[in-house]
């Protein structure tokens, strides 16, 4: 059985993601094969680029319902987090609708450039196994122009001019707006928590 399947949504540079798991002793498999994704112990939905392109690729690969029906632990990263939600303001595109919420453009404000690119202090707001060992004020690396506002599914927040969801969770789905694979030790902790997490 595939231990960790990374959904190949195209476009994403996943070198750093693969290396991050290698450091944890896991070799994930990059795949767009529905059978392999369904059968994997854990699934990652990465994403870089625009929401519309990513959704149309998932549609073309017939993966939309496959992802919706997954019951094992699933982690969405960056754009992958936004894809797990209902809609994105970016091109006004319908997403997977697994976690309630809509990705909104970050507000433009002085000294808060968009895209938000860099380290942001992050604060857990609800207990969740994925946040084991993560403390309030730990920094994670963000690269994004859109974000999900805080909601009942928010388990960690960060702020860039305004607060937004740094992490979301619903049932077997968790999602991070930041890149754990590029977030030093705190990021490695999130990934190793994900590998330990049982639903």
């Amino acid at each position: 059985m595939t231990q960790v399947a990374i959904i190949d949504s195209g476009g994403a540079n996943i070198t750093s993601l693969l290396s991050a798991f290698e450091r944890l002793g896991v070799a994930p498999e990059l795949t767009a094969d529905a059978h392999q994704i369904r059968g994997a112990a854990r699934v990652l939905l990465p994403g870089v680029g625009a929401a519309r392109d990513a959704m149309s690729r998932l549609n073309k690969a017939n993966l939309v319902d496959v992802i919706r029906d997954l019951t094992q632990p699933v982690l969405g990263i960056c754009l992958g987090m936004q894809l797990l939600c209902e809609r994105s303001e970016e091109d006004d595109v319908e997403c997977l609708g697994i976690i309630p919420g809509m990705a909104r453009k970050l507000p433009v404000a002085d000294s808060f450039p968009v895209p938000n690119m860099g380290w942001c202090a992050t604060r857990p707001t609800a207990p969740h196994p994925i946040l084991d060992g993560i403390e309030s004020g730990d920094h994670f690396y963000f690269v994004h122009s859109y974000a999900i506002p805080e909601s009942e599914h928010t388990i960690a927040t960060a702020s860039h001019a305004e607060p937004f969801s740094a992490m979301l969770a619903k049932e077997n789905f968790v999602a991070a707006q930041f890149h754990p694979e590029r977030s030093s030790k705190a990021g490695a902790r999130i990934l190793s928590n994900f590998l330990e997490w049982t639903v």
Binding site: N13, T15, S19, R23, S111, P113, M117, Y141, R182, S184
Partner: protein
């Protein structure tokens, strides 16, 4: 402010490291895994690598060692030296490099670099801009090491690159680099004031902890330190204390 340690690669070996490493053993410097672990232990987030072989020959003979350093350390590696074509960029990104540092090509062929920013994203490119301050006080770009003056003002250059989506800029006043006379604080203050959205990296002239503290006061997102770390003027403990406290 993030401290970004800098190392140089030459003949497949790391030739610029902390004080002490060369005294202990020279073997150490050729072991990329050990280098990776060492920087990882330093608790920094990024590593700046200058590929001296690439700068000289335009080839990527150090790709394997860079890939291993990146994989072992888990740090975000930015690498410069001899990057001239899209193929160079692709190969480095595939070898675990997070950001490609582009110098002369950014000035001589801005159209090409802007295409890379569009294709790979603003986070994949660092513009390395060497400047000299002219008599009127305007920073002007220099290329080809420190010899030729391109005449273009830093502001004109940054205007067009900001519009193209560039994010990371590494700026060096060549009069200060290696001279141990301190960074050009006024230059960095003006860049930050003019371009809020840039992730500016101070580079060149950092002597000691006081210089780093001054850069932090100015609001620099990051500072590269090479020689000061190498000479032991800045200690590992001091680096750690600066970690992401902005």
């Amino acid at each position: 402010m993030r401290i970004i340690p800098a190392i140089d690669l030459k003949d497949g070996k790391c030739v610029r490291l902390f004080k002490g490493d060369f005294e202990q053993t020279t073997e150490y410097s050729s072991d990329p895994a050990a280098i990776g672990r060492r920087f990882s232990a330093l608790d920094v987030d990024d590593l700046h690598i200058v590929d001296l072989d690439g700068a000289r020959s335009g080839t990527q003979q150090n790709a394997a060692i860079v890939a291993e350093i990146a994989r072992e350390s888990g740090l975000q590696v930015q690498l410069g030296g001899g990057i001239r074509t899209r193929e160079d960029v692709v190969r480095w990104l595939e070898n675990g490099v997070t950001r490609c540092v582009v110098g002369s090509v950014a000035i001589n062929e801005p159209g090409r670099v802007k295409e890379w920013i569009a294709e790979f994203g603003g986070d994949a490119v660092v513009l390395a801009l060497d400047v000299k301050i002219d008599e009127a006080g305007t920073p002007r770009l220099t290329t080809h090491g420190w010899t030729e003056d391109s005449g273009l003002s830093l502001w004109d250059c940054l205007d067009t690159y900001s519009d193209a989506g560039a994010i990371h800029v590494l700026c060096t006043d060549v009069a200060r680099d290696g001279a141990m006379s301190g960074p050009n604080f006024a230059l960095y203050a003006e860049v930050l004031q003019r371009y809020h959205a840039l992730q500016l990296q101070a580079s060149g002239g950092v002597r000691n902890l006081d210089d780093l503290e001054m850069l932090r006061e100015l609001g620099l997102p990051a500072a590269i330190t090479g020689r000061a770390l190498l000479d032991g003027e800045i200690t590992e403990a001091e680096v750690t204390s600066f970690r992401r406290d902005a």
